[in-house]
Each structure stands twice: as structure tokens, then as C-alpha cells.
């Protein structure tokens, strides 16, 4: 004790100050926000009286401009606001100024750790903890609508709101591209997966049928003979996943989504699917799948699409490759890629192609720290309304597009011309189809100008082949649980097993890789994961009213 006194005495005030600072910093660090803050319910008494028949943004008389910060968890998001025709109109209509902040998960985590939250937040992963614990940091849309803007309930899809409902019966986030059963039934959603082949190759071989494994293998051989400079068969970059050879191929040949009892079905071990993997392995052994296809990243794959390196491809995400396919098509007339029926189920199943489901893509939230939640809510309503949707996709009538007699929409020639020939300027001036926080496929269907020419035939081919995969959405074990860890190990194992199987030197090593995967499943809580997934599928069906 004596020593401590002496030391403190010697070091004096400075030491104490440093120590004190340290203690303060530590306690300060541990405080944080914790999402325990209360929502900032501003009063709208002297601004407007809510009207369920009229959107609040048309009623709000607030005179000063409202400044809002909006965090988007994507580095690629264009942070400009108010310069192009779309955001300029939004700015005028709502009398707001939005400052966009972009970043990755690290930055998102910093917001939560630092406690200084933006007004609005957009995230992507519906399975993440940020979304599942939204009740701790976001304001429920139900309460916002009731207090500030009941018109929201007219423009939001009831099914989507119900789908995102949390345990407390409230919905906190609203996504874009959330497709409900009604959307699927309307036929307005275009397919995004296709088996495509270069037209010149297809015609040179006499438009062969390649539905069965034998036919497929033999056509690939013929391609190699006639077009030795091409790689006969390609697929999306595999990376840490399965490229287009996992669930995209399973959907393509119509592997069932569930067991007959409505429980989780392990589609990776489906007999029909494994037959096709064996066929692809045979094609690989014939030298008709390049080793590089297994190592390429997204950029390398895109380069090959752009230069027409693959004779045929199972392509998932045709809109994402639309630009590259268009570039290839414009430079190589008559050699463009076309969709054909391609591989078929050996069991006679029809394709069950997938598209964006009810979970959608980007999910938007209003945080409890929002300075003016009423204004924030008005953005949701505005963009979700018919008016907002048309504005995002086609701009302003008379200025950028005209409505035709049949109700469809057409861009004005000058705008269309810029879209085709000066894409950068087009983005800067018009930004059509890009400000898509609440974007939706059904509005894309309003115009022939919504998609590039190169993928229209592929989308037409996919008509009638889409099947909603709603029951399989968000069925993974909750993050942080032992099952979630086991599942991530299993996914990693499946990724390497799939590639090993496709690159097998003989049938025996194909079977060995598969057997090793199956025993890996047993060692890693697979039974528990299946149970959780079946349970969550049941909940999904209840939510969707399928039971």
C-alpha cells in the first residue's frame, strides 16, 4: 500500500489524469447506444392533418427544407441527389435534401457501435442480425403510417408487410423487388435464368436437341470439333458459392422444392440433379469444360461473356449480364446468344425457375434517430406509389417518355438515343431505372425500353417457367447459433465438393467426393438444420396462407 502511495505521489497529477481519462474512455466505450433510444415522434399538428385518401407529402406544409441522411450498405450506390431528373423531382415534391452515405458491413457496424444513426438505412441481407433485431433500432412502419401517413397502406403490398412482420406483430422494413404470388400470376416478372447458345454455333450444328445427358454430351463434342477456339460449355463464376450449377441448375431441371410431406428437401442430393452433374463431369473429362471456369472470378467471367468465348452457357442473372451480352451482340450480328430448351429433367419435371421472391432485395428502414420521421415516411409512400414508380423507371411524362394508347410507355427518341449511345451521360442526366429503393418488376413490364435488346429473347423463352420459391426464403438457422455455424461449414464443403465432383478423373472419385460430403453432413448437425428449415418452411406457409 505504501508503495502505491509513493508511486502516485511521484508521478503526481499527470498520472492520475491519464488514469482517469482511461477509466472515462472505457466506461464511455461500453456505454454505446444499444438501440435503447426512443423514437423521435415529432408533432405534425401545425403542418398537416393526416388523410387516408391522400399521400402526406401532398399535404405537408413544412416550409424549410428537411435534411436527411440515408445510409446505403453498398459501395457502388450513386450518392448524387437532386442533379438528375429523377432525384430532382423527388427533391421538389417532398422539399427534402438527402445526403447519401455508402459503405460495407464494417461501416454499418460502426453506425450501430457509435450510436449516431442515419435517418434512413438500406441493407441487403434479410437474414442478418441487423434485420432480425430491427425492433431495437428502427421505427415500425405500421406506427409511422398510422401517425403520419395512412396512405402508405394503400401503396404498400399487404403480403410483403405481412412477410416482414416481426414477433411483436409489426413491420420495420420494406424491400424493393418484392414479388408476391399476384405478381407471379400476372406474368409481368421476366425470367432471369436461361440456357443460352451462340446462334452461329447452334445453326452450324443444325439446331440440335440436347435435352438428355447423352445428347448434351454429344453436342458438346461436336462444338469442340467444329469450333475449336471456343469453350463448349460455361457457367457463372463459382467463387465461394456454386455459380449457376447449384440451385440455378436445380431449378432449370425442376428439382422439387419440398418433400411430399411439405418438409425440407435436400435438393443437392436429388437423383435427377446428380445424373446431370455426372454428365457435366463426363463433358469435363472430354475436355469440353475449361478448368479456368472453376477458378474465374466475376470479372473474368464477364470478359468471356463480352467476347463470346463460351459456345453455350447456363446463365443465371441475364439482366446483370445484359450490358455484356448487348456489347457482344452489337459487335457480332448473327452470332448473338439465344436461349434454347437445353438440359431437361431425366424424370420429366418441368423447369421451376426462380426470381426475386417476396423477401425482395434492398430493405429500407427508418431509424429511431430520424430527425423527422414524418418526412422519412413520406419518401416511402411517394416512391411506392404509381407516380413514384413511373418517375423512377421512366422519368416525367412529356419530358422523357410518352404514354401510348395501349397504356404502355415509350422513352422519347432523344432520351432513347442517349441511353443506347451515351450511357454515362444518360446516367448523369436521367438516371432512369437506377434510383430503385422501392423499384418493382411490374413497372418494368410497362415498356419495351426497360431491358436491353440482347436479353429479350431469353426473357421471352422463360415465360411460364417461373415458380415462386417463397417457402424456401429465410429458412436458415439464426446467426450465432451452433446450427448456423454448422451450415456455413456445410456450404463451404458443398462448394468444394461440387467442383471436385465436376472435375473428377473417373466415376469412383466422383462417388467418393459425394460420399465424403454425405458423411460431413452427418457429422455437422445436418439433422438439426433440416428440422429448423422444415419448421421455418411451415411458418412461411402460415404467413403466406398456404395452409
Amino acid at each position: 500500500m505504501f508503495n502505491i502511495h509513493r508511486v502516485l505521489g511521484q508521478r503526481g497529477v499527470k498520472g492520475c489524469a491519464a488514469l482517469l481519462t482511461a477509466v472515462l474512455m472505457v466506461t464511455g466505450c461500453s456505454g454505446g447506444s444499444g438501440g435503447s433510444s426512443e423514437a423521435n415522434w415529432v408533432s405534425i399538428e401545425d403542418r398537416y392533418t393526416v388523410d387516408p385518401e391522400k399521400p402526406a407529402w401532398q399535404l405537408d406544409k413544412k416550409e424549410e427544407v428537411t435534411d436527411l441522411t440515408w445510409y446505403v450498405n453498398a459501395d457502388w450506390w450513386n450518392t448524387d441527389f437532386g442533379k438528375d431528373i429523377v432525384t430532382k423531382k423527388i427533391k421538389e415534391d417532398l422539399n427534402i435534401n438527402i445526403k447519401f452515405i455508402t459503405g460495407d458491413d464494417t461501416k454499418l457496424n460502426t453506425f450501430f457501435a457509435g450510436g449516431d444513426m442515419p435517418d434512413l438505412l438500406t441493407v441487403f441481407d434479410s437474414n442478418s442480425q441487423v434485420v432480425s433485431k430491427a425492433s431495437t433500432w428502427a421505427i415500425p412502419l405500421n406506427d409511422l403510417a398510422e401517425k403520419y401517413d395512412p396512405y402508405f397502406n394503400k401503396v404498400a403490398a399487404a403480403d410483403t408487410l405481412k412477410w416482414f412482420q416481426q414477433a411483436d406483430g409489426k413491420t420495420y422494413g420494406y424491400p424493393n423487388y418484392s414479388n408476391t404470388q399476384a405478381d407471379y400470376d400476372s406474368g409481368n416478372i421476366p425470367a432471369k435464368t436461361a440456357f443460352i447458345i451462340r446462334k452461329d454455333v447452334y445453326e452450324a450444328l443444325g439446331s440440335p436437341v440436347m435435352g438428355t445427358p447423352e445428347q448434351f454430351q454429344s453436342v458438346m463434342k461436336q462444338i469442340k470439333e467444329k469450333f475449336p477456339s471456343l469453350i463448349p460449355f460455361g457457367f457463372n463464376a463459382i467463387g465461394g458459392g456454386t455459380g449457376s450449377l447449384g440451385d440455378a441448375l436445380q431449378d432449370f431441371i425442376g428439382v422439387p422444392l419440398e418433400t411430399e410431406n411439405g418438409e425440407f428437401y435436400d435438393r443437392n442430393l436429388d437423383e435427377d440433379y446428380l445424373t446431370w452433374l455426372k454428365t457435366l463431369n463426363a463433358v469435363y473429362r472430354d475436355g469440353n469444360i475449361s478448368d479456368d471456369s472453376f477458378a474465374d472470378d466475376g470479372t473474368a467471367f464477364e470478359e468471356k461473356v463480352k467476347s463470346g468465348k463460351y459456345a453455350a452457357m447456363l446463365l443465371d442473372g441475364t439482366p446483370q449480364q445484359g450490358g455484356n451480352l448487348q456489347i457482344y451482340m452489337s459487335d457480332n450480328e448473327g452470332k448473338e446468344y439465344i436461349a434454347i430448351d437445353g438440359p431437361q429433367s431425366t424424370k420429366g419435371h418441368a423447369p421451376t425457375l426462380n426470381q426475386s421472391g417476396i423477401t425482395g432485395w434492398m430493405i429500407n428502414f427508418i431509424s429511431k434517430d430520424a430527425k423527422d420521421p414524418a418526412k422519412a415516411m413520406q419518401i416511402f409512400t411517394h416512391l411506392l406509389s404509381e407516380e413514384g414508380q413511373i418517375l423512377m423507371n421512366y422519368g416525367i411524362e412529356g419530358e422523357t417518355f410518352k404514354k401510348k394508347a395501349d397504356g404502355t410507355v415509350e422513352l422519347l427518341p432523344a432520351v432513347k438515343d442517349m441511353q443506347l449511345h451515351n450511357a454515362d451521360q444518360f446516367k448523369k442526366d436521367y438516371r432512369l431505372g437506377e434510383f430503385m429503393f422501392f423499384g418493382h418488376d411490374r413497372h418494368k413490364a410497362l415498356s419495351a425500353d426497360a431491358f436491353p435488346e440482347a436479353i429479350k429473347q431469353m426473357q421471352a423463352w422463360g415465360k411460364g417457367k417461373l415458380t415462386p420459391h417463397f417457402i424456401l426464403e429465410n429458412i436458415n438457422p439464426n446467426l450465432g447459433t451452433a446450427e448456423a455455424r454448422a451450415l456455413s461449414a456445410i456450404n463451404t464443403k458443398w462448394n468444394s465438393t461440387l467442383v471436385s465432383m465436376l472435375r473428377s478423373k473417373d466415376d469412383a472419385s466422383f462417388d467418393n467426393a459425394l460420399a465424403a460430403y454425405q458423411s460431413f453432413l452427418e457429422e455437422n448437425r445436418w439433422a438439426d438444420i433440416v428440422k429448423i428449415r422444415s419448421e421455418k418452411m411451415k411458418q412461411n406457409k402460415e404467413k403466406l396462407g398456404m395452409q
Binding site: 454505446g32 433485431k133 463459382i238
Partner: protein
């Protein structure tokens, strides 16, 4: 004068240590450091039974020891060879060429390697041309070769740069030693053995200590660029595993627990290496 330094250390080095507590908690992004529930040693127990973690440990040690075994000696040999060169111009040329790869990031070098190792790349063309193989194969997909690819490419990148310290110390050696040795009739090899190497002893020891203590913490950039689904089982190192668990899977507690374990082992390695080298240096510790 010392106070700003102390404060800096406290704020940026010691306070963050508090964050290590999440290794003993079940932490999610929504929680704060204090609100996350304690789970004791659960995270460490899970690590013990995690096959992928142990794979990563084996790979880290394998690759690091290969790099240490080969990569530690080569800069010394290279430095002596450069030192022994007579022509000033040629010396400069060799130095520039050997330093160059150090200034390129792994993103750039990795991209080059991926192209060279692809089926239509430099190496396959070469092997096909020499008739060593008949079918081109993507070499990076071959897990069995990964450790060597990692080691040799790292040596290619860093060997030249590693010579700088040695060359600096060699320039300090008193030239009269060499003159005296020459008069005594010592050969060049003898001079290197009896004069150059003993004079480099302390700097070699220091380098060894620094390298050994960093054994478990290296290889991240290289791994992230060169790893793919097929070589993962041989390529995943502890750092890339921590990165994957923490950043992409959001399992922060687990990733922190792994990081904490690695830090403790690194300290042990550091102290051991210091002990060994001080024995070699007449009980004088470099640290």
C-alpha cells in the same frame, strides 16, 4: 513531453483491449460491448472442435515454416552475392529488379499469377511446349501445390527487399578486415564465412525474432487473392479464416476468440525466439 505519448498509447492501444471481452460474449452488431450476454469460454470450446480452424492452423504453420526455412536464408545469400559484385552498374540493376515486386500489392501480383497459372497461361504453355504435360490444367486448382505456390511467390516478392538491411550492415564492416584476410591468403568463401557472416549476426537474429513472432499473423493478402474453392483446404490460413468468420459471416465473438488465441501464441513464439537467439549471441538479448 511523455504525456502525449502515454495518452496516445492508452487511447489507441490499451482501451481497445477492452474490446477483447467480446471473445467471451455472444456479440452481434446490434449489441454494445456491455449489453451482449456473457458466454464464458463457449467460443473457445467451439474453436477446439472446429475442423476448418485446425485446417487453417496447419496451413498457417506449413506455409509459414516453408517461408521461414527457404525465405529467410535467400535474402542473406542474395545480399552477400550483391555485396560481392564488382560492377557498380550491374549491382544497381540486380538490386532494382529484385526490389521491384515488393512495391506491387498482392492484388496486382495475385492477378498476374492467376493469369500465368490458368490453362492458357504462361506456365501451361511452357509445360506443354516442353512436353512435360499433355493436358493443360489450372495449377491454382491443385490444392497439393498451393503451399509451394504461396512460398515461392512470396520469396519472389520479398527476397530483394529483404536484402536491404543486410546490405546496410555489410557496408559498415571495416574493409581492413578483408585486406588482412587477403594477405593471410583467405579465399572469398572463407572471407564470407569468417568476416561477413559474424558481422551480420545481430541483424540476422533481430530479423529472425521479428519473423518468428509474426509466423501466425502473415499471409492474409496473399491468401485472399490466390484462394479458390478447390485449394481452400490447403490455402485457408488463420487470418483469412478470422476475416471470413468476422467480416462476411458476422460471427464477431468467434473471430475475436480466434484472434486472441493467435496473439497469445505469437507472444510465446516471440519470447522463445528471443531466448534462443540470445543464447546464440553470448546471452545478449536483441530485444
Amino acid at each position: 513531453m511523455v504525456l502525449p505519448g502515454i495518452l496516445f498509447m492508452i487511447v489507441f492501444c490499451y482501451i481497445p483491449i477492452y474490446g477483447l471481452t467480446i471473445a467471451f460474449k455472444n456479440y452481434t452488431v446490434i449489441d454494445t460491448l456491455s449489453s451482449a450476454p456473457w458466454v464464458g469460454l463457449d467460443n473457445f470450446r467451439i474453436i477446439m472442435s472446429d475442423k476448418y480452424f485446425w485446417d487453417a492452423v496447419v496451413n498457417t504453420l506449413g506455409i509459414s515454416f516453408l517461408k521461414l526455412g527457404i525465405g529467410f536464408v535467400i535474402p542473406i545469400i542474395l545480399a552477400i552475392m550483391i555485396y560481392e559484385l564488382n560492377s557498380g552498374r550491374f549491382k544497381k540493376f540486380v538490386q532494382t529488379v529484385s526490389y521491384l515486386p515488393h512495391f506491387l500489392s498482392w492484388i496486382v501480383l495475385g492477378g498476374m499469377l492467376i493469369t500465368w497459372f490458368s490453362t492458357t497461361g504462361l506456365f501451361n504453355e511452357l509445360l506443354l511446349g516442353l512436353g512435360i504435360i499433355s493436358q493443360p490444367q489450372n495449377i491454382l486448382l491443385d490444392a497439393g501445390k498451393y503451399w509451394w505456390i504461396a512460398t515461392l511467390s512470396d520469396i519472389w516478392k520479398e527476397a530483394g527487399w529483404g536484402t536491404i538491411l543486410y546490405l546496410a550492415i555489410m557496408s559498415k564492416i571495416d574493409p581492413t578486415y578483408y585486406e588482412a584476410a587477403k594477405i593471410d591468403g583467405a579465399s572469398r568463401m572463407r572471407q564470407i564465412w569468417n568476416i561477413t557472416l559474424p558481422n551480420m549476426k545481430s541483424i540476422i537474429s533481430l530479423n529472425l525474432i521479428l519473423t518468428v513472432s509474426g509466423l501466425l499473423g502473415s499471409n492474409l493478402d496473399q491468401t485472399l487473392v490466390l484462394m479458390n474453392s478447390q485449394n481452400r483446404e490447403k490455402a485457408e490460413v488463420i487470418n483469412s479464416y478470422v476475416y471470413r468468420m468476422g467480416m462476411s459471416q458476422g460471427d464477431f465473438s468467434y473471430a475475436t476468440a480466434v484472434g486472441l488465441g493467435v496473439s497469445i501464441i505469437s507472444v510465446i513464439l516471440l519470447v522463445t525466439a528471443n531466448k534462443i537467439t540470445s543464447k546464440l549471441n553470448d546471452n545478449q538479448s536483441v530485444l
